[in-house]
Amino acid sequence: MSILGLMNIGKSAIFASQAALNVAGHNIANVNTPGYTRQEVILETATPIVPLAGGYIGIGVAVSAIERRYDRFVESQLLGQEKSFGKSTAMDQVFAQVEQVFNDFGGAGLSRNLQAFFDAWGSLSANPEDAAQRSVLLSRADALAGAVKTMDRSLAATVEGINDDIDAAVGRINGIAGDIALLNGRIVEAEAGGTASANDLRDARDKLAAELSGLAGVDTLEDARGSLAVYLGMRSLVDGESAVPLTAAPDASGNLQLSLSGQDLASGSVDGRLGGLLASRDTIESGLLSGLRRLAAVLTKETNLLHRAGYGLDGSTGNDFFAPLSLATTDSSAGGSVSSAAVTDLSALTLSEYAVSIGAGGAYTVTSSDTGATVASGTYASGAPIDFEGIRIVLAGTVAAGDSFTVSPLTGAAANMGVSVTDPRKVAAASAAGALPGDNANALRIAGLADAAVASLGSVTFSSYYGGLVTEAGSLARDASDLKAFDENLRAEIRNRRESASGVSIDEEAANIIAFQRAFEAGARMIRITDELLQTVLQL
């Protein structure tokens, strides 16, 4: 080996140390960068090995690779945990908000209004002639209706907010999917043919994949070229360098439904934040919101039935106390439409929701959603009304096979709740026209509703039915926050493991800097010594 070979060894030491210092500096610079993976210089002895007296020796050091300290197992766990955490966080946010609607501990709350309403009837029954008691009753009833309306509005606003969130999440998901597709191209290009790893690009892609998993719960698969395929609900979202757009479009009731490459995504197949939003929207609509509307509808129906039978101080009878129930219809038909829907017999109304469907030859069936039973069927004659369970609907237009409609006395029950009696004298406390003004039998009957087990509420009283809604809201919030706390802990633990493997330690890098600085110095000294050796030889 020549003296000049020594010079080369010194040079390789300087270059390798400089590369290592670069990496240490890059690591330190990114100590707080989210998703950054610590990089490490892999050094190896430089080949070829040359023969030396008595043996062989290498020609110095070489940088074989700059690697990410990356634990594939922890990384896939983190992806799974982001998914659960995204879902439970979304549900926790929604249900904590919903719980406040049903929070009866702040002094207000519907249970108070409900009790005050029945108490006012109780006071009126003790003093049926008293104009003041009548006014008190009307204002209590107003407060009750107002509280029901406010709660309905808050819940509807929550559902609306969820739809907005879904829209925003879908936008972000599409953005991320596009970015991943872009990064796929750059990573494949950077890594093509060589052994060099596009570390920082991969960090960026992993970070996006984790965010995507938190948003929608995706599955990922990396191919041999380094391109990451992303699947959402078993369908491809990112394939190589192209991303498929996820779309959200409103359905008949105004709720956003997801579809990917033209096919609907069932809410069960989506996880993460989006899955949490969809699940909590369904839970609110089918549970708390419909429960509140049922409460309002039953209260309106039972009060009105009794009130109509009674007599006011002015002898008037047959008056509704609360604004009468209206029917909401939806239409998913090509030809026909519902021209009118009205309650014809309040006492026959079961407060179920109905589906009207038209079959071949104009045969129609009306199905109750409560019991699943067919409550009316026949052959539709143009313009003829269809009657069932106290409801009459009239269809218009060209009614054809396959048309379907829904009729619900519940949908608007809470939103439209109001007191229709305005004149205190018309409050029907008396049960007979001839016994005025002291007859209190009807007021007594309505006050008795407070303790009555009401069949259409599942044979419980109004206040325990409402209590059920409050505890449902409470347990939803509690379960969601417990689950979120659990997922948060688990995520923190997995992130810790990731940080432990991949995070930057300033202490460690500082030690590395010293080590490589010394190696650099020694390499430089090596070159000087080689120079001195050369001088010595030249002066011979």
Partner: protein, 334 residues
Amino acid sequence: MRVSSFQAFRQTTDSLMKNLADMFRLNAQVASGKRIGKPSDDVRGTARALDYKVAIDAGEQYRRNVRDASAAIGFAETSLSSVSSALQRAKELVLQGASGTQSDATRAAIAKEAAGVRDQLLSLSNSRFGSLYVFSGFRTDTPAFDASFAYRGDAGSLNVAIDQDVLIAKNVAGDGVFGYSRAAEEVVRQSDGSIVHYIPGAGTTVSVEIRASDDTTVIDAFSFNNVMEMADLLSEALEDDDAGRISALIKPFDDAAERVGEVRADLGARLNRLEDQDGRLENAAFAARSALSEVEDADIASTVSDIARTDATLQALRASAGKILSQSLLDFLR
């Protein structure tokens, strides 16, 4: 285990946040005095607390009704005690008039007094509690008896709820108190040999026939519906010195006094029942309030000790964070 710089930083902040959140929650408990601030704080407790609150509210309404009914019944009872005195006075007048030792002048005075009793009874029957006629049944805006002593009220019984499914009537219909009715015919033989038949008629009408000792020949016949008419008849009989009628009226006045006595006893029993019920409701309200407090209220002593503990943890965390986060190897490489 390898600890990265970011990891050390995040773990410290996470722990700080967790303890600060605990502190905030405990502080809110102390501020409100309530253990349950929202349903999810204690779902089962929430259900129970709501039940207790409903029970307390309903109990208050029942107590209001009890006080209302007590006042109305107490007033009716007071009025009826005056009616008893008036009837007592009427009976004395009957006995005085029947004694036969009266001069025309004294009898005229007694007749005048009887008319006074009649007017007093009429005004008592039309007693008003507040603006309401108490003996008119449901027709509380109408005097129970008009100037010709006809009943203008009805039989309505004003029931109020004093507990779940427990009703009590807070009034008594006038024709049941002031009206005079009989179930069966009754015969009284007078000291002068005449025989008096008291015959039940339609409604509250009672016909009286004074027959000679053969029990066939009708000497005199008259009828009345209520105590006012009885007092009116008495006054007329005294003026006319009609000894037969005067004596025949002794029994009706006795019966009427007895009837009023019965009604007063019933009212007294109702008042007792209301008083018992009030006590019961008060006890129930107390029990419900204690139970509610048990469920809902924060145990301040234990909350405060929790705060002290959390505070100690927080301080220790801050002290150790100061050491861990502020130094690195670089500080020692000069």
